[in-house]
């Protein structure tokens, strides 16, 4: 069986002649979590857009096991929109529900189940905008769970979330891994990336891809983050970056 995510020589960008993605080539197998590391503007979100088929790439190929589920950064969703957490989770079923049909009862049950899985069963009927940042992030993950895709793309899901939410999200990641799904997680947390199956370093092109233990060298991180990199004295390895801001 082929891997759920395979890209070969992917090149493209927003403006003709300026490639944000330069020769991106990687494979993420079933049950693997791949960290996508890179500075702001380095191509993480652009890669996701290419995988979602929103950004026509210039050359290369993408093979996916199915339409990926996407979890955006929580601040991209409207807080003033009159929906409950359950309504948001249910949006994951819209893609398979014809416009003239009601959302199936089974999908409503799936939304309840997904919210319970991310620890928000009791907040199912709370208005999305009243939840904390971490809870909102979990609701968006629940929506992706309802989509039931073999591939999940998550854009900095652990950035700025509270500790209980982070623990719950990491637990769901482990469950999804055990189910054989492939997760691509954009992150700035190098230490976190070391704990996952694969790491892809981007900086206007692919810097490196492979197992974290062998890939995340100081040299690779320097090429990935440039001046943003801070190497802690005595640690013997690069572990963090100086600052980051969300891409919008």
């Amino acid at each position: 069986m082929s891997a759920p995510v395979v890209t070969r020589e992917l090149r493209g960008g927003y403006v003709r002649g300026v490639d944000v993605l330069g020769g991106v080539e990687f494979t993420v197998g079933a049950g693997e979590i791949a960290a996508i590391l890179g500075p702001n503007g380095g191509g993480k979100t652009t890669l996701f857009r290419a995988l979602l088929d929103e950004l026509p790439y210039r050359t290369g190929t993408v093979e996916l096991a199915g339409r990926p589920a996407y979890v955006p950064q929580t601040d991209h969703a409207r807080l003033d929109f009159p929906v409950s957490a359950h309504d948001v989770a249910l949006m994951g079923a819209y893609g398979r529900t014809p416009f003239y049909r009601r959302v199936a009862r089974a999908d409503r049950a799936r939304a309840d189940e997904a919210l319970a899985r991310v620890g928000l069963a009791e907040q199912a009927h709370a208005r999305f905008g009243t939840l904390s940042g971490g809870q909102r992030q979990r609701v968006l993950i629940a929506r992706a769970l309802v989509q039931d895709s073999p591939v999940l793309l998550l854009d900095e899901p652990l950035s700025g979330v509270d500790r209980p939410s982070a623990v719950q999200i990491e637990r769901v990641f482990a469950e999804l891994q055990a189910e054989g799904r492939a997760l691509l997680v954009a992150t700035h947390d190098v230490a976190q990336a070391r704990g996952w199956s694969r790491v892809l370093c981007l900086n206007h092109g692919q810097v490196a891809f492979g197992a974290p233990a062998t890939t995340l060298t100081t040299e690779v991180l320097s090429r990935t983050y440039g001046d943003e990199l801070v190497i802690l004295d005595g640690a013997g390895q690069a572990v963090c970056v100086s600052h980051h801001e969300h891409e919008h």
Binding site: P68, R78, P82, V83, M91, T97, Q147
Partner: protein, 264 residues
């Protein structure tokens, strides 16, 4: 008051328009298209004047005016130097000015007031049937596009991944808005109809916590504004369309003053 056919038709028209304008307004506000809504209604003035001069139904003139405006906006928006809002402003101001020149020309029958502010008391049986058909079409289209509009308004960046074409939802909303504008112009005129679209919806979104409740409440408040406006107009002998618009705005102001009622 209800014994005359004129008032019966006016009330029926106000109720029909309220049922269509209220729910549409909720989507206009959630998708932040208030400027487009106001612009589209203003831009059809030349079409209305030409219909008035030619003795054609205003509905026909409104439809033609909206089509020309939409085509003009699309054309200007293609020029990267102008962009979206600038394109709308240029086309709408130009068309409104052209409409005013045509309306104030000596050869034109003096109907500018009716075109700008509508004439709910002049609604014919044919106008009523046309408004009913258009309002029904608007409600069916909004129901069919509910999920696409919701995803686009809530989280546009994820729309594609959720199987929704955000650009298509935007376009569909503008088309529905154009149909509603055409339906409402006879009764409320091209300056006042926007009040019935936006004000009850703003009130409903401030009062309701969930989308279905907001949509139902917006329809109810728009109908209420229509009925209250007509009663006020009858009692005080003031212009019907303006009364309806003022009642809609009063409802919105009242809702903004009230704390959230927590309508489920």
């Amino acid at each position: 008051m209800l014994s005359s056919g004129i008032m019966q038709r006016a009330f029926a028209e106000a109720i029909l328009l309220g049922l269509a304008c209220g729910p549409l307004g909720v989507w206009i506000l959630l998708l932040r298209r208030s400027y487009a809504a106001e612009s589209l209604s203003h831009a059809m003035l030349p079409g209305l004047v030409i219909a008035a001069v030619a003795g054609a139904p205003l509905l026909l003139g409104a439809a033609g005016g909206v089509l020309v405006a939409a085509a003009g906006i699309a054309l200007v928006a293609r020029d990267a130097r102008a962009g979206g809002d600038v394109g709308v402003a240029v086309v709408v101001s130009g068309l409104f000015g052209l409409g005013a020149i045509l309306a104030l020309a000596p050869e034109t029958p003096p109907r500018l007031g009716e075109l700008l502010f509508g004439d709910l008391l002049g609604i014919t049986r044919g106008d009523l049937l046309a408004a009913a058909a258009l309002a029904a079409g608007v409600l069916v289209a909004l129901a069919a596009g509910h999920r696409s509009l919701a995803v686009t308004a809530f989280d546009r960046g994820s729309a594609h991944a959720l199987g929704v074409r955000a650009a298509r939802a935007d376009l569909a909303l503008l088309a529905i808005l154009a149909v509603t504008t055409v339906a409402a112009v006879q009764g409320l005129g091209n300056l006042l109809l926007i009040a019935l679209i936006l004000a009850p919806a703003a009130a409903a979104l401030n009062l309701a916590r969930r989308l279905p409740a907001a949509i139902a409440l917006a329809a109810a408040l728009a109908v209420l504004a229509g009925i209250a406006g007509l009663v006020l107009s009858y009692q005080l002998e003031i212009a019907a369309g303006a009364s309806v618009a003022l009642c809609a705005v009063a409802i919105a102001c009242f809702a903004l003053l009230k704390p959230k009622l927590g309508v489920p």
